[in-house]
Subunit: 206 residues, 8 copies
């Protein structure tokens, strides 16, 4: 018999780390279409906000070519810890960041960022080594091409990191539609056009 233990996301035990979603770095992302990727990033942000998860933003060299954080993220989390790193590529090498993570008191970390193979992978690998349960959001993390993406996924998955898409995050946190039917419905409708269409078609028949 398997000894597998299903470690599932728990809204009382999870925090979100959004790493280097900056307007310059965004132009490096070519493993997703630009509209798709932006939609995914905002969907994840809205998801973690909907569940009230502690969320930490961090950036790398905002003053330089990497550019500022996507303004939509800053606006969505005006009071979140915000750690502009002075130089560390791996956010986990930044003490303030590690402290901010610890202060959330959460053991499950949901991580996404740009680029998958560096800012996401390095941080995720350090976090799991530090004893956290790590969930990397595959479709809110982008990189140069699919070759880079799949190698990074493999490296992380072998380390015990769970690969999830934003929709899985939303559903695994929510558990039961009855916790807030309207809330989850609106969240999904906002970022999944097909779901919005189903809701519109349905409503008209009522």
């Amino acid at each position: 018999m398997s000894t597998f233990k299903y470690n599932r996301l728990d809204k009382d035990n999870a925090a979100a780390l959004l790493v280097d979603h900056q307007t310059g770095l965004f132009s490096l992302v070519r493993d997703f279409g630009a509209a798709d990727f932006k939609n995914n990033v905002l969907a994840l942000a809205s998801t973690v906000k909907f569940f009230g998860l502690p969320t930490i933003l961090t950036t790398s060299f905002e003053q330089g070519p990497n550019g500022p954080i996507m303004p939509e993220l800053k606006e969505k989390f005006p009071d979140a810890p915000y750690i502009p790193r002075p130089g560390q590529i791996n956010a986990w090498d930044n003490e303030d960041f590690v402290k901010a993570v610890a202060q959330t008191g959460r053991k499950q970390l949901i991580i996404a960022g740009i680029v998958t193979d560096v800012c996401v992978a390095f941080c995720a690998l350090s976090a799991i080594e530090a004893g956290y349960d790590v969930f990397v959001v595959t479709d809110a993390s982008g990189t140069f091409d699919e070759t880079c993406r799949y190698a990074a996924w493999e490296r992380m998955s072998r380390a015990g990191i769970q690969l999830v898409n934003w929709f899985s995050v939303a559903c695994e946190l929510h558990r039961d539609w009855r916790n807030d039917v309207t809330g989850l419905g609106n969240l999904l409708a906002g970022y999944i056009p097909d779901y919005k269409n189903l809701m519109t078609s349905y409503a008209v028949k009522q």
Copy 2:
């Protein structure tokens, strides 16, 4: 020497026809990712509205499985002629529609819809036969797969219909950035994430 005459879009001579962008039919569209396609449709709608083009909406069997028009379109053009067709598949077979087109007084028709090979192609082929200059918006029109798409493009292009994407429509109508730098910039930023990023990066350096 070529005798080619460049018939370019003119904001004083163009009208837009949005055909059957309905929430049920939308689920048939699989030659674009859903988020991409919705983005393109709204981008085209915002473009023709930005230039104040006469715009006509039409739908097929809204009460049945095809579903209602995408609500974003209805909201964007609350006063536009709206022709729910009682049964005609080709909108041009509907007299009210043809009349509404004629009443715009425009000779250039910008057409997009669902699906490319039927509701778009039939209407476009009839319109060019009727003497209009026809521009089909390739990325705001969707269909079952790329095989259907490319055959429909070929059929239309051979008939003299011009194939354009929504960004070309916006730029060909605008002609010169100086006509409204901020307006065009905002339009592009709203639907092209890469352009929004360039603007954000640029602004921060000012």
Copy 3:
């Protein structure tokens, strides 16, 4: 002004030619998935039967490796002219076939078959030379790969042949849903799973 004349399918003037849809030749078709392609072929067959179009079946060397005609086609058109060609690759080189076409009294020919670049293209090019209006059904015709497909399309389109998919054929023949709402709905539901889903979802809300 364009001098384009929209030559559209007319159920009183069209006939269908199904060329070499044989079980051996089917294994050569690799530009479509096998389930998709079979679905398309049967959809076209059901479409032309729904509209009662004169239909002609022809095969090449049924006794040899090419195999017998797909049994579903034979069953659907038990009384249709059936021309097993003794050797001619181009069906138009077979007098009985040309005569059978003439006897339909129709001017518009809807052609599909295996493979696109040979049995379909040769027959279609001969038919348009002979003065017929020719419509090749792109997704009910298959060949070795997309390179072969697109070259054959180009050759045919330059000759004035119209490229259409089976769904366009159905809609262009039907013209108006009111001619038979249930009939067309059932036809589409039978071969387009997404449309069937829309109808099922819709029905349950009634």
Copy 4:
């Protein structure tokens, strides 16, 4: 030497769980062509029925936008336990469902559904944690795109879940053609056009 133990499907020890194959949710599936996916789902359903496996159907919010279960499934298993979940996203969070699974008395669970990364993955991860041997049917489970699919596969495979396609399920259950040559032949012919073609070509030569 490897200590690997080949846990293979056994028709006396397996049960099937069909999760949320609903007509609304189906429109979210875009990692397969629609005709292919429907064919795969029905093939799996026919397979588990052919072997007489205990089968459980469950749905999520049938009354809302998710839509009713695909009618073909309901018809094929009129007497199977049918668990419409009032809100739980993970079917394993529903006591009736878990009980129904236990009552089959089977240890091997064959799971498929919509979408792969949520309704399938959550249920499968819970089931393996509960001590079952879990087989997820990759091609009868669908989701938004290939990125979502492969991440979900990885998450499940790491947990010890076996990934199988419907054809593997059929063959691993059947073991030996001699158990029922005609039965298996007809099953395969019904859903694999290439196999049907081989059978037709073969029959004609007899």
Copy 5:
């Protein structure tokens, strides 16, 4: 009514030009898999030999990096005119080549080579200007990638050049299986594995 004239290949009026199929240049071809492309080139060579068409070989700078002609071609046509061009990129700029073409007395030219956009396109465009009927063999001509391929096809097709694959060439020249059933069967079986399989399966049943 269309005025289209179907100009089809005629074995008594066609000649073949094989342009720059050299072992060095072959490494530039990346729009086909290497095994596929080699198979296509040899298939075309065997086809034109089967029909006894006058065939001309030409190469560019064999002594340098471009490398020698593929040895299989030289062996297949030991007595064909062989024009190693001292420098002209367009074979039609070489008088000996143009003369050799004229001496065939044929009006239809079947052209293939490496790379599609240069050695093939230039020669084909010159040949049609010179009054020949030109057929370019799409799958026995290779280039850097699909972008280069499709632009070259478009340039040639607009000029009136017909795009055909080698299988179309074989079938259009043969006209009727009865002219030599065994010969054509063997030709196809040699280069189309699926056809060889059909023949083997068929033979065993006899």
Copy 6:
């Protein structure tokens, strides 16, 4: 430090199992182009013959639609054990086959066949359970599509089976070019057109 032990192919300890490469089943293979796949199968066959590995052929239902073994394989191994299975889908369920494998006295099994997810995977999983070291040849094994392929790879790889392509097999068995430069060169040239080209270009300069 890793405890990994590199278990590499050894020509004195390896045997080859070619499973169900039959002319009917070949038409089911659509995850490779047909010419590519046939080239790979023959390349593997020539490789194991070149190294004189004990080789076993087995087939499933040769008399029925599955068709006879590819004749090239039968001709290449006229004296190899040949096990036509009367019904067992998993060759390891056939006692004669298991005995024949044991009689080779080899511990390393190189397995390829049609289809990857059934005839190959079932046999490979049984073989590793039985204590053999198993190497599945990825590109000489084919199946319905890439979705089926990758799920089967994952299932086998998790079980400890090594995934190798035929070129790896050849090189890992050969170890050192000096063991037979000409022999290996000819083997590679026969199935890798790019390598043949390199050799031809090189030879001409000597």
Copy 7:
């Protein structure tokens, strides 16, 4: 007989127009990989410089988000006419640009730029209307995706514009290797890695 006239590039009659290859706009280009596209642009620039063609550079809003011209282009053509357009999207709407073109005294215009469907297409369509022979360089022009690219190609090709890749431009201008073997060899080696490899392998054998 065809009346086609092969209008080929002539180094004494051609000029090059490089339109809006700016560092900001470059991030919009996603129909090519970034390294490939940059390689192509520099290859075209080196080609037209090698042949000494009159070359004109133009940019759109260099001071804003579009960014400055790629510095490699400015360095390569320090003395070329340089037209920073104050607002016109279509360069042909800028009188200085049209005058600069006229002053080259050339009739053949080689045009490339960003993006294909706007800055390239608009300028090219105006130029052919003005009586120039227009050649658009397909692989040194980029846009949002392949859908946008192919629609723009179709629009331009129908207008009589020739679609060529940079390698065709180089070869059509050069005509005969003997005009400068070393020069052309170095040009190709600089931008085609496969050709550089052929030259290196060849040189070592001398």
Copy 8:
């Protein structure tokens, strides 16, 4: 809690092995575009040079068809140990090579080469067995196609080898931008056009 230990690249403990990047073998690489692959190889070479890592070059049969090492590599590491192997396919079978690796005194080996599944995989599997920590650079290693690539990745990853792309190598070695902002910036700008563009756009605004 996971017991995962993040073994990350350390510039004081890493060495680089560049295996068989030869001009003949390069033509076998078709899982990357040629310009992309060359760019990646040079990027990795520049990266390991930038960090002053001990680097070893090795080749297989330089005098034969495999061709000489890419000259850019030889020039970049004129004083590096250079091991032309007389015949061993696996570099680890060559004593001089193993000794040279040992003499670096490093425990972390960064390996790239041609082809991924043979020269890279064999060497990497031997190195990890010998007790080294092994990092294979996925995008500076090439092979015949993606099928070969992914099977080789899987074989290596299962053995505990980490899969990284060159950009990850650069960033993991660098750790902190402040160690050398200009140096790293120039390294990235040299091989990532999008990053160069960001830097150029940024500089102009200063």
